[in-house]
Symmetry: C2
Subunit: 242 residues, 2 copies
């Protein structure tokens, strides 16, 4: 029945356990593959309840630092399949937070049957029409992103009525479409003539492309390709564990 409060002042016991283990791993005392003490033992060592040790280990497992298996125990994960979180902010937020002025211009808006490559991505039947939108996002009058988007009208009929004059389709979709899971693909390409012009580049200049497909429940809502000038655009993820 001894409450903590004795070892360290403000830090929660489960965090203490977590940090202690992390430190051992970082310091090399625990190497990948090594077996970590069981929950019971940890609880004894750190003078806490088993559930508390359990939470520490569970969170480390969620973060990919350790691997847990019933009966076998907990081991330090092989740092092979690292993963990193990239945050993808709203374009206007991103631009403004970089200290630039955001502006937006609609290039094209039409309802047509998409080419097969897009049709497959949207999971549409042949000759089904979709909303096609092209627009450019500017940072202090410099083109920052060219957006080429297709919207499945079966999933969001309202989109056909939206103007997209002052607001980008992404902002509109976020407002109108409930929630969505997404798939992201990143790659680089040489800008063809038309895209180069829209981004104020020369034909052949490197372009950073972010492709995103979005679903609600079962339907594909939208497929978008976001093109950024390779010379200036950077996508960052800094991970400092704990």
């Amino acid at each position: 029945m001894t409450i903590n409060k004795s070892d360290k002042p403000g830090i929660s016991p489960y965090l203490q356990v977590k940090q202690a283990i992390l430190q051992q791993i970082r310091g090399g005392e625990l190497k990948p593959g090594d077996l970590i003490s069981g929950e019971e033992e940890l609880a004894l060592h750190f003078k806490c309840a088993r559930v508390t040790a359990h939470r520490a280990l569970r969170e480390l497992a969620e973060e990919g630092v350790v691997v847990r298996k019933r009966k076998s125990g907990t081991r330090v994960a092989a740092p092979s399949a690292r993963s990193t979180r990239f945050s993808i902010p709203l374009i206007d937020v991103e631009i403004r937070s970089a200290g630039h002025e955001y502006s937006y211009s609609l290039v094209k808006k039409s309802i047509i049957a998409p080419p097969d490559i897009v049709r497959v991505k949207l999971d549409l039947k042949r000759d089904t029409e979709a909303l096609h939108i092209q627009c450019v996002h500017y940072a202090s009058s410099q083109p920052y992103q060219f957006e080429d988007r297709w919207i499945n009208l079966a999933a969001t009929p309202n989109a056909a009525k939206a103007a997209f004059d002052n607001e980008g389709p992404n902002a509109w979709l976020l407002r109108e479409v409930p929630w969505s899971d997404a798939e992201h693909i990143l790659y680089a390409e040489n800008a063809p003539e038309d895209r180069a012009r829209l981004l104020d580049l020369t034909r052949g200049d490197a372009v950073f492309v972010l492709e995103r497909r979005t679903w609600t429940a079962d339907q594909t809502v939208t497929f978008v390709r976001l093109f950024h000038p390779g010379s200036t655009f950077r996508m960052r993820a800094s991970r400092v564990g704990l």
Copy 2:
């Protein structure tokens, strides 16, 4: 003292709560900004302990689906600052799992004072030498990645002795250096002459660059730029929540 087992067979109560809330969000019944019932209320509704409801909400918060604030309550998160996990597998694993044969070739290995741009990234003093390694990773004899790496010898003195003949420096580092936090930067560029040749490309071809800086505890261990042919390389992240 009523154990669950009545509502749904195998699914844990906390997952039931979690899924129920997720479904309401996905279905649009709960929109961004909406207030979710408090833990107490949820516990009552789902006939579970408050801790159970708490866990459901906590995990949803960790996943960025909801935002929690003491006294105020829990709200559906604005889907603005979305973030996605990209997994970055080991190069040889990546190539082999794509069904190709992996091979590796060392291009250059020297110990010199790095240029200022690199020096700053490695956080080294002026005129401090570092290990510079360049190598190419092949997928079925096609160049897949050109690796340009700098290693801080103060952090890993052993690296100077390593041959890197048969093994890439990344694999070596993962074995020798305990654990590490990393920063990632992605961008696109036009290949200069030398890089183009190494990747079997033409000067100016789009290249996808992954820049990574790695630390242990406080020291910068390594700074690496990984160059991929833009025409074939894709970086994927598919997120399907729950």
